[in-house]
Symmetry: C2
Subunit: 476 residues, 2 copies
């Protein structure tokens, strides 16, 4: 593991100076990285398409998103609120005298990031984990996903061309990944991938003599619930929307809805779903391994006596093509295996006989990235009950929409109770993703010059701060 040692040693050596660049300095670097990627747009998309077959349209969109993500973190740095800068001036309190205390978040140090297979750009080498860690001031060592090695290398070269030496490195291979998680100088890990792989690395991180945070996004079935009123009022629209969401990216999104709860006897909705699935064109899956896993899982489900096929894609499947298939099950027959994630264009439709039966089934769900509710205008009490139940398991609640499509923004939450993520208090998408790479430090009675600029009496770049308990905004 000489590569890992070299990369981590360089990262550790670069950490203090990288932090020392400050918010403005790092914001410039993120903007430069976004520009550098955009300049090489055609090369990046071409290589990524060769390796993933996701198609130029999707990949151009993903690159745009990736550049925007880098820019968002530059904005987060300019704002500065993420630091939680807090100053308590010396004084007396009912619990005794208090010294001058000044607290803010500081980078944790070098971190490791594991790229995902299904977003070769936005959740891989130049993706959200890397962007947020660099923004935080943490040097990053990325473990490349084996499904797109050349895309990873190209993106790494582009990032390295603008970043200070040591602050970004790429390593590859299963053993390199394990060595990274166990390396004493690595202070946190970001991961997007399977529940099995993520749990194994999570366990490694926690078994260290000094456990470190492991931020893994693992698995989610993203339940979608249709109430009786919605089923009768919007059957065709929901069927089209659900199947579109389920088959987007050939069902290989972490937010793919894999469970659909509909009222028993909603014949119109059920047949609309079957018709929509029949019309889906089979797209190529990301890799032979993923394709094989999908085909095997569908075959297993076909032999499950409780499941009934209610729709299959009619189109002739091509090479490593994922042909959509929809199963149904009565809520009373639901087992734990039906509630598990299956990567690819398939879902289980659960038919519930009563609200009590629906709520009971929902209470058996594992943690989820998202939960979606389609309801009618007159179902206020029912919606309140279902939201209270779903909020216990999910990080994002979608109303009358679909879970695929994760906006990069300030208010996004992409995370949830295990196994959706290993740390439900955090997100891997959106502005607050930066919080994973920071820890608080309080300076007690420090002289002005020994403080980080953000905690000095007059900070050179204004930011929101809480002073003696009151939040204050810059320039007010």
């Amino acid at each position: 593991m000489r590569d890992v040692e070299t990369a981590v040693t360089a990262a550790a050596a670069a950490a203090t100076d990288f932090d020392g660049l400050g918010r403005a300095g790092r914001a410039e670097l993120l903007t430069a990285a976004a520009h550098a990627l955009a300049e090489r747009r055609d090369d990046v998309v071409a290589v990524a398409d060769e390796e993933t077959r996701l198609g130029p349209n999707r990949l151009h969109g993903e690159l745009t998103r990736t550049c925007y993500q880098l820019q968002l973190f530059a904005e987060v740095l300019h704002d500065g609120g993420y630091l939680g800068a807090t100053i308590d001036r010396a004084g007396d309190t009912p619990a005794g005298p208090r010294p001058d205390l000044r607290r803010m978040l500081v980078p944790v140090g070098p971190v490791a990031v594991f790229g995902a297979s299904n977003f070769p750009l936005a959740f891989s080498v130049p993706g959200g984990d890397v962007a947020s860690a660099l923004a935080a001031g943490c040097p990053v060592v990325v473990k490349a996903h084996p499904s797109h090695p050349r895309t990873s290398r190209l993106c790494a070269d582009i990032l390295s061309s603008v970043l200070p030496p040591g602050t970004f490195s790429l390593v590859a291979g299963f053993e390199a990944g394990q060595a990274l998680v166990q390396h004493p100088a690595i202070r946190a890990v970001g991961f997007t991938g399977s529940t099995a792989g993520g749990r194994a690395l999570f366990d490694l991180a926690n078994a260290r003599p000094d456990p470190i945070p492991f931020y893994g996004e693992l698995g989610s079935v993203n339940p979608l619930v249709v109430t009786p009123a919605a089923a009768s009022q919007r059957a065709a629209e929901i069927a089209a929307g659900f199947v579109g969401s389920m088959t987007l990216g050939t069902g290989q999104f972490c937010t793919k809805p894999g469970l659909l709860f509909i009222p028993a006897g909603a014949e119109q909705l059920r047949s609309a779903l079957a018709a929509e699935v029949a019309a889906v064109e089979a797209g190529p899956m990301l890799s032979d391994a993923i394709h094989r896993a999908f085909v095997d899982e569908v075959a297993t489900r076909r032999t499950d006596g409780r499941l009934e096929v209610i729709g299959t894609a009619a189109a002739e499947p091509g090479e490593r093509a994922g042909a959509a298939v929809l199963f149904r099950v009565a809520a009373a027959d639901l087992t734990a295996t039906h509630l598990q994630e299956c990567f690819g264009p398939t879902a289980v439709v659960v038919e519930y006989g009563s609200v009590a039966e629906l709520v009971e089934a929902l209470s058996r769900l594992d943690g989820q990235l998202t939960a979606t509710l389609h309801s009618g205008a007159d179902e206020v009490a029912l919606v309140a009950q279902l939201v209270a139940q779903l909020r216990q398991t999910a990080g994002r609640l979608v109303f009358d929409g679909y879970p695929t499509g994760v906006a990069v923004s300030w208010a996004m939450q992409h995370g949830g109770p295990y196994p959706a993520t290993t740390s439900s208090a955090h997100t891997s998408v959106g502005a607050t993703a930066i919080a994973r790479w920071l820890r608080p430090v309080t300076y007690q009675k420090a002289p002005q010059w020994a403080l980080p600029p953000e905690l000095r009496d007059a900070p050179p770049e204004p930011l929101p701060r809480r002073i003696d308990g009151t939040l204050e905004l810059p320039g007010r």
Copy 2:
């Protein structure tokens, strides 16, 4: 474990209504709890003194701090900024259209708290973990520390008298603690105690089918560094301050400085330290077990050929009395065992021959709650170098002061890299301790009535919110 099952079941049943009380409702309860404790002040102090021998003065102070802590969290609730309420209105972005997204923190659900031995009030049943969890909206089940069972019971009865049924319970016993950490309905754990005990429970929490966050405060030696200038300019003052801090509470504080780095040849400082230690009166330790561990550890250190005793308390030791003792070692002879925490009134003085030797020794430290630096006015470059090094291991940096005394305030950080705490991103003291019991949820395209009040267009109780990327304060 029928007690655990009863307590957790009641907590789970109470969770939704407790959250539904809202910030104002829970702030009222915290204030009521503070008043109820203050009303029973004499009873609480009397029972705690019988069990811990900490003395009425210290215990009255600790109760005052405990009540103030409850009030601080009421203030945190009124402020509302801790929720991180964020609204992104629907619109177009460079990465595509964005739906209406509204994010805030919500309670994780029922939590478990393990009381500490050394603060029977402020870090036990009515302490900071419980106060912050209740503020967050999480029902709490406390596992009582066996060293003060009657104090725990009395405080539990007082809290239960003002809190809604199910939101607070007390259980006792080693097995109850393990069962709590493993109970499916428990969503997070707070712990203050030994590294061995904390690590065992941390491992249990992570071995669950669904791992949950374990916020443990374990061990810290709290290094204190004296620069050459400080040693020559303020020898007497530093010796008195250090020995006072080391022996406060008979050396049984988690912030006790257990390592003192001084320049080799600082004879004046060394002899002042010896004189101060000789004058310390031996106080009673918290329990027979803690006393025995202290005596054993001191005996082991006395047989360590690298360590030399430079001062011992002259006073006749009484029953379970901890007699202060100070060792010295040359930095070149420092081993890993010298760097480990030893509960009780003892410390190791490390004499460094050069700044390089000092920095090398500091780089070998484990994670710390605090690190303290005493320096002279002309040592700006040296201080910068030492602060950069110490910040990598500690959560609080104390300048020309002493680490004991942890203010309850907005800017306090009481946590650090492992083993100081199991999660360096969090604190167990101060306003932000509430963050341990919360997780973010984003509402996508939710109707106004389905949103928590804090995310509605017009929140009934104003709070700081970030709207379309801009932080806004109430009433501005």
